[in-house]
Point group: C2
Chain length 338, copies 2
DNA sequence: CTGAAAGCGCTAACAT
DNA sequence: ATGTTAGCGCTTTCAG
């Protein structure tokens, strides 16, 4: 009606003016400082509401106020695993008024480095990363950044700051020992692209070690360089079994998606579980446990990893001490497929 | 060694000094402006590198530079659906150097409103939201914020700015028509908590309309007020079938997770698909298509929704025109379960 | 409990 | 092609 559109948003200055106080008092009131009088608080809140004031945290953070953003770098969102972790993170962060700022590295160290640089440039309060082969530059940025950093998923590494996760090698080893104790002797493996997924590779490594301990070797191995999926597991098992020779008595899959595919192949091919063939996976996904015959697997505590990582960030920010390493562990799930 | 730790990060000023140019020139160089001489560019880059300079986008954005953050509000991460959408979003955004800042509303309008306020206070370049019953205040903030806003998933609504998605009501209707055309007459429904998931409710609504068109009514209906899951679908079907009377010839599930549970129940209970009972779901998840018998379902284009929404934001930011409504459609998938 | 001053680190707008 | 000037909107000191 008059000069400009009301597009320029009201600033703290206008709120303060309307409430008849100084900028800083308005600022304190709006941030819930407990030094302001109830009356001033009320006046300021009213002024803010009537103007439709929206806090500008860019300015706040630049002026030295706290940031409530936490950088989060994950390798992928395609598999339910990382959304589960993210869920745990988000949940804890949101309760504390924080937000994840997300980056996906696609398992690529270069992209990862770029993401770190990008996210750090927003001066987040902390950073959570599921590493995919961090470069030296990545490590340098993280250690120089002077903020809490949590490396998640795997704890078989030496973290820059903190780590939360489980031992994937240990999980593979434990599964091998368990299965061997149950009497299986011809153990085979079907996996997805291990070149990129180094945690899957670590599990296989541990599994192999378990076999070695018992004087065994892998009775068959199919790895396909594609992302894991139910269809891939199905195909992988089919390939494994086609290849003549004495068939294995058990197949360890790189994860539950793959293993469920294996179960489906057996159903379709009339292979009875676990008599003719046993199957084991990794992750403890809901789908595996809801199968007509529950899947033998290792439950990873994905959401807990996210929650714990968020907790580490928040704790550190509030000045508390935090553990350098947190092992959330894993649990063997004895289903009907073995 | 000397006074303070080098903890205070180098600023543009120091980079400029070291390169022997002014701050603004250093700024231009580092942002890749094409008005700087190659030599100065090089000098500045070297200076920045040798100092370990890390851009501060807080300051940049406050000073009027662009933000590369995009607020993203989703109701949940538990079901693979929203991670799929997020994946599409992230992918497109990342290619443009943008990052999603995430908030999860848990299907709660109040939380949603709070999230909008929070995210907007960071002055993001745009906002993408899968609405969960936006309040008036929410709408007011979004329309007053003067940034591109995309409401995703459903297009049966009147968006504040733009909308990208599909008609859930239409999907339910199409499925009903399809199934009736195929000869089914006793169609039942098994669903999860429809009170919160209004898109599932819309599908059921459309489905019912399809029945009405054909002079039919639902031959049975079980809804359980829990989040959807395979286990819940299994339980739901069990409940539906227990309840005496003439059994249905088809069950429409609220989504694929639920439907897969239904399929598992049939496998376990020795109900042959689709002769004794047919099953249909919604979403077109990988798991449903990898079942020994592929699931009849409606494929929703989730990742495409995310990509398209991101595209809308980016287009608008670059000044291009964008459609108010984008219907990414859906496709019927005729599997073996019907 | 409230305020005044100073500046966070950068970039748009003009110069030159 | 480069520099100067002035803020962006807020919060941290430090005073009262």
């Amino acid at each position: 009606m008059s000069k400009e559109k009301s597009s320029r948003k009201p600033t703290l200055f206008e709120v303060a003016a309307r409430a008849g106080v100084s900028e800083i008092t308005a600022s304190r009131a709006l941030r819930g400082s407990n030094v302001v009088t109830p009356e001033t608080l009320q006046k300021v809140q009213e002024a803010a509401a009537s103007l439709g004031y929206l806090r500008n945290r860019l300015a706040g953070a630049l002026a030295g106020g706290p940031s409530n953003q936490v950088g989060v770098i994950l390798p992928s969102l395609s598999n339910i695993v990382f959304p589960d972790v993210l869920k745990g993170l988000e949940d804890r962060l949101e309760h504390a008024g924080f937000h994840p700022v997300l980056g996906i590295s696609n398992y690529d160290p270069q992209q990862e480095e770029q993401l770190i640089r990008n996210l750090l440039s927003w001066r987040p309060a902390g950073l959570v990363i599921a590493p995919s082969g961090m470069t030296d530059a990545s490590r340098a940025m993280l250690s120089g950044a002077d903020l809490p950093v949590v490396e998640i998923m795997d704890i078989d590494t030496d973290p820059v700051d903190m780590a939360v996760g489980m031992s994937h090698r240990g999980a593979g080893l434990a599964m091998a020992r368990h299965l061997i104790a149950r009497g299986y002797r011809r153990l085979a493996y079907v996996g997805h692209d291990i070149a990129h997924d180094h945690r899957a590779a670590a599990r296989l490594d541990g599994f192999r070690r378990g076999l070695t301990e018992a004087g065994l070797t892998l009775a068959g191995c199919v790895t396909l360089s594609e992302p894991s999926s139910v269809a891939l597991g199905r195909r992988g098992l089919h390939m494994l079994l086609q290849d003549g020779g004495t068939p294995p008595d058990l197949v360890y899959f790189s994860n539950d998606d793959m293993a469920v595919g294996g179960v489906f192949h057996c159903m379709a091919a009339g292979i009875s579980l676990p008599d003719q063939l046993a199957i084991a996976g990794f992750n403890g996904l809901e789908i595996g446990q809801s199968l007509p015959v529950a899947l033998t697997t290792t439950a990873s505590h994905r959401t807990l990893i996210g929650e714990t990582a968020a907790g580490c960030i928040l704790k550190r920010l509030s000045g508390e001490d935090t553990a350098r390493m947190t092992d959330v562990g894993f649990s063997l799930v004895e289903g009907g497929t073995s």
